[in-house]
């Protein structure tokens, strides 16, 4: 994308004031987005993002600069200006760049840029028809298709030189149901680190059908009661609760500065024996997967919690310095505009032994969260909140009426201790995770689990 000799000069200019590490991240990304509403393709936009991020370390200080000026003079100037933030010292050492050839784990068979719009639109129309025809109360279907081809080149003063291509495809379906007075929505957004083959092979009857079914079900639902209940959270996107409640607290971004309840607790029991929590960026073609992270490190399977014992954190190169630990292939950024830091990839609770039937049958009075919405966490305290997209009451071991407006709140570290059943039906769901280095594709996953008590906020009262 940019000549190696220019990259070498930029890495050197970045170390001209005494920095001890420099890195160049070049990004050339093609994006296509299309939207279908009211049965019509209403929006279609294509674009190309192109820019360069330069990072310099000097001990525990991190300097980052980015630019869209790709001329050699522009890049050298940007590196020199950034280097001015470091107060003098001997020039850092540059090791000769050694090109690494990576073996891609994620096969892409149809590059989205080579697929004409008409084929993408055909899938959208089919999904639209399935959702629209699901029930006469479905009044609106909104579909959003996105594909991205992100080409990156990462080089650093330690001699690293890696190129990678990441391809993302996603179809989001939102159905709105109305009975003339009220309106409710249902959503499903499957995505993968894959090409158009992923979109073409999607089971649209399932995804579009489910989005419509959720909307109609919520239209008929009662208000959710408030109080403390055992809560059963179903598999797949249900894993978002542990993404927020524990995952963020295991990122070096908060651990390195002791801003996490999990800091300095490696080897301690933080969860019941039945809980094993893993972040794995190598799962083939999953939405959160990568060949190499945004520092050029190979992604890996990181065991965070094993049989309830805290085993590890997600660590990037910079925080590794503060923590005196090794980086874990977890450094990510939305684009060249973001200083990378430790983030999740595909994070999930490993499968247990209970069947979903057993879990429901053994719950006398509680809430069953079939599909979760989004949520957020305060990483310093671990206090989290989630909305439940589709919830039911559980009575005497059976699923009862659907309820809406359920929000779960609690504290991550405490909720983790209260997991009392883990199912055997692990599945992953795609989401976008927003944090300090931008918005990133991540998978959350889990089998069905049960938490003995969570505070459920609803509108119905106790």
């Amino acid at each position: 994308m940019i000549k190696q000799s220019i990259i070498e000069n930029v890495l050197e200019a970045a170390l001209s004031t005494g920095g001890d590490f420099s890195e160049v991240f070049i990004e050339d990304k093609y994006v296509n987005t299309m939207e279908l509403q009211s049965g019509k393709i209403e929006k279609s936009i294509s674009g190309r993002d192109f820019g360069i991020g330069i990072r310099i370390f000097s001990g525990l200080q991190c300097i980052y600069t980015y630019t869209t000026d790709f001329s050699e003079a522009g890049l050298i100037n940007a590196a020199k200006r950034a280097a001015l933030a470091i107060k003098g010292g001997a020039n850092g050492t540059i090791h000769p760049l050694q090109k690494e050839i990576i073996q891609p784990i994620h096969t892409i068979t149809q590059m989205p840029r080579t697929v004409e719009h008409a084929r993408k639109v055909a899938v959208m129309r089919k999904a639209n028809d399935i959702a629209k025809n699901y029930d006469e109360r479905i009044k609106q279907v909104a579909l959003r298709y996105i594909d991205e081809e992100q080409n990156v080149l990462i080089a650093n003063s330690e001699g690293k030189f890696v190129e990678d291509t990441r391809v993302y495809s996603r179809l989001s379906i939102q159905a709105t149901a109305s009975d003339g007075i009220e309106m409710q929505t249902g959503f499903y957004g499957p995505g993968a680190h894959a090409g158009f083959e992923f979109i073409e092979n999607l089971d649209l009857n399932h995804y579009a059908g489910e989005s419509a079914r959720i909307a109609v079900t919520m239209l008929e639902a009662d208000e959710c009661p408030s109080g403390k209940f055992p809560v059963i959270i179903d598999n797949e996107f249900g894993g978002v609760i542990f993404h927020e409640a524990c995952g963020h607290g295991l990122e070096a971004t908060s651990v390195a500065k002791n801003n996490s309840v999990f800091a300095n607790r490696i080897g301690e029991k933080v969860a019941p024996d039945i809980v094993t929590y893993i972040d794995d960026g190598t799962l083939p073609n999953e939405w959160g997967s990568l060949n190499v992270d945004d520092e050029g490190e190979k992604t890996r399977k990181n065991i965070l919690i094993e049989d309830g014992i805290l085993k590890g954190y997600l660590i990037d190169k910079f925080n590794a310095r503060r923590m005196d630990a090794e980086a874990t292939g977890s450094s990510r950024r939305q684009s060249y505009r973001f200083n990378p830091t430790s983030r999740m990839t595909n994070t999930y609770i490993a499968p247990g032994e209970s069947t979903p039937e057993e879990i429901i049958a053994s719950t006398e009075h509680g809430i069953y969260a079939k599909y979760m919405g989004g949520g957020s966490v305060n990483p310093a305290t671990g206090d989290y909140n989630f909305s439940v997209a589709e919830a039911y009451l559980v009575k005497n071991g059976k699923i009862d009426r659907a309820v809406r407006g359920a929000t779960l709140i609690g504290n991550g570290a405490k909720t983790l201790q209260l997991v009392d059943m883990v199912g055997d039906n692990l599945a992953h769901g795609a989401g976008m995770c927003g944090s300090i280095s931008g918005s990133l594709p991540v998978n959350v996953g889990q089998p069905m689990i049960r938490v003995s008590e969570i505070t459920v906020g609803g509108t119905k009262g106790e």
Binding site: I41, R48, A85, K257, S376, G405, T407
Partner: protein, 447 residues
């Protein structure tokens, strides 16, 4: 190739390649950001960037494309992509490119004085704030954010129908979050401020505000789960308003995605509620003299004393509803197509101070911040069920902080249930403003 040459060539070539109308939108910006951790610079970031969005009418349909790579070869990429994107659209919806308004207000969104503040002075300011926060109280254990950021940007819009507009904007943002600990209890408190006046930033006052905000959350108590009368502090109200702004968009009413469809001229809120959008409000930082289509912006009442005066329109939705555009076309970036959004939307203030509102409440909950609005609030149904931080009010006084809670209700009911509006109007960095509001009741669930 300079950006001017690029634009001219692109517009000329677009017409040659069969576009009936063509427009470019270019934005370049610079930014600086520093984060402080325990007296040291933890991170230091600078940037210089630019990108160009192109749109053009091809066979009556509007095609869009953008690039950040300003080089000769990108002209063909933009033209080919925009054509393909126009082709795939289902209908020509009557959108066209705008030749310009007759007059534009000339509000200045750029402060030369702010641009001249030396980097060192900005770093000293944020360092001194951090130091003063730690000195304020030993229960302050760490700051999980202590950041100062500034930006300047220039936008240019030009088309082959004679429109040529540009505007400069700058601003400075401070964001701080403090972590406090007392025994086993840990709480945070955050602060954000956006300004164009560096001299109004008083480190002592900011340190006090951050520290007090975090410390006040200590000593939490549980209260029974039930419905309570609510006072929603200005910043919490502004964030709730921001989350529900899509209900005012004509694009959403036309697509059956907002329950305000057909409600213009009707009472949708309490008499005390007036909602304004003022692109050049002196206290607000986000603003513009023209919207995403080049239409002159102006101050407008969206809701007056409870009556919905207008929806937010761009030229396309206005045409469909048979009204005039309200200048609310929004192009958040050269990377986006047009959407609809306000610039500086705020709830008009009343007369009573926040303290007076609290003093006149026998029992209730005073909400100071909300979390999870992106997922717990549905703009389609109006339902919300979201996490909140706040205090128990008893006998006209703050009795204690309340444990983590959720508040739930419906925004359309909320608007009708506003009983009093405070005098403490403040704007959030995102361009939404509100005073504190007294609301009849919401369901409160306490952890």
């Amino acid at each position: 190739m300079t950006i001017n040459e690029f634009q001219k060539k692109l517009l000329a070539e677009a017409v040659e390649m069969g576009f009936e109308e063509a427009e470019v939108y270019y934005k370049k910006s610079e930014s600086f950001r520093v984060m402080i951790f325990k007296g040291e610079i933890d991170s230091y970031e600078t940037s210089e960037e630019g990108g160009l969005g192109f749109r053009g009418l091809y066979n009556g349909k509007m095609g869009y494309a953008y690039t950040e790579k300003i080089e000769e070869a990108s002209i063909a990429f933009l033209i080919d992509s925009a054509k393909a994107n126009a082709d795939v659209l289902d209908e020509d919806d009557g959108t066209d490119i705008f030749e310009g308004s007759e007059t534009y207000t000339k509000h200045d969104f750029y402060s030369e004085e702010l641009a001249q503040v030396p980097t060192l002075k900005k770093i000293e300011l944020i360092k001194s704030i951090e130091e003063k926060i730690f000195a304020y109280d030993p229960r302050i254990v760490t700051l999980n954010y202590c950041m100062l950021q500034d930006f300047s940007e220039e936008r240019v819009m030009a088309n082959n129908k004679g429109l040529s507009l540009n505007e400069k904007q700058n601003g400075l943002i401070i964001y701080i979050s403090a972590v406090v600990k007392d025994g086993e209890e840990m709480k945070t408190g955050s602060f954000s401020k956006m300004t164009r006046d560096f001299n109004e930033l008083d480190p002592d006052a900011i340190a006090k505000e951050v520290a007090e905000e975090a410390l006040s959350n200590l000593g939490e108590q549980s209260i029974p789960t039930r419905k309570y009368p609510i006072i929603m502090r200005h910043d919490a109200s502004a964030s709730l308003l921001a989350a529900f702004t899509p209900i005012f968009s004509a694009e959403n009413t036309q697509k059956g995605q907002s329950l305000l469809k057909g409600k213009v001229g009707e009472k949708i809120a309490a008499e005390t509620f007036t909602l304004l959008d003022d692109p050049s409000h002196p206290d607000a930082i986000a603003g513009s003299n023209f919207d995403g289509e080049g239409v002159a912006t102006q101050k407008r009442a969206i809701v007056s004393n409870g009556t919905l005066e207008t929806l937010l329109h761009n030229r396309k939705t206005a045409k469909k509803d048979g009204v005039k555009t309200t200048g609310h076309a929004r192009k958040p970036s050269y990377k986006s197509t047009l959407t609809i959004a306000p610039l500086n939307m705020y709830i008009a203030p009343g007369n009573k101070s926040k303290e007076e509102l609290i003093a006149s409440m026998e029992e209730g909950v005073f909400i100071t911040s909300l979390a999870g609005l992106h997922s717990g609030a549905s703009t389609v149904s109006g339902d919300f069920s979201i996490a909140a931080t706040g205090f128990h009010i008893k006998g006209g006084k703050i009795a204690s902080a309340v444990k983590q809670m959720t508040i739930a209700g419906n925004f359309f009911d909320f608007l009708k249930d506003i009983e009093e509006v405070g005098s403490d109007l403040k704007f959030m960095p995102g361009g939404y403003g509100s005073p504190s509001l007294v609301v009849k009741e919401l369901s409160v669930t306490v952890d």
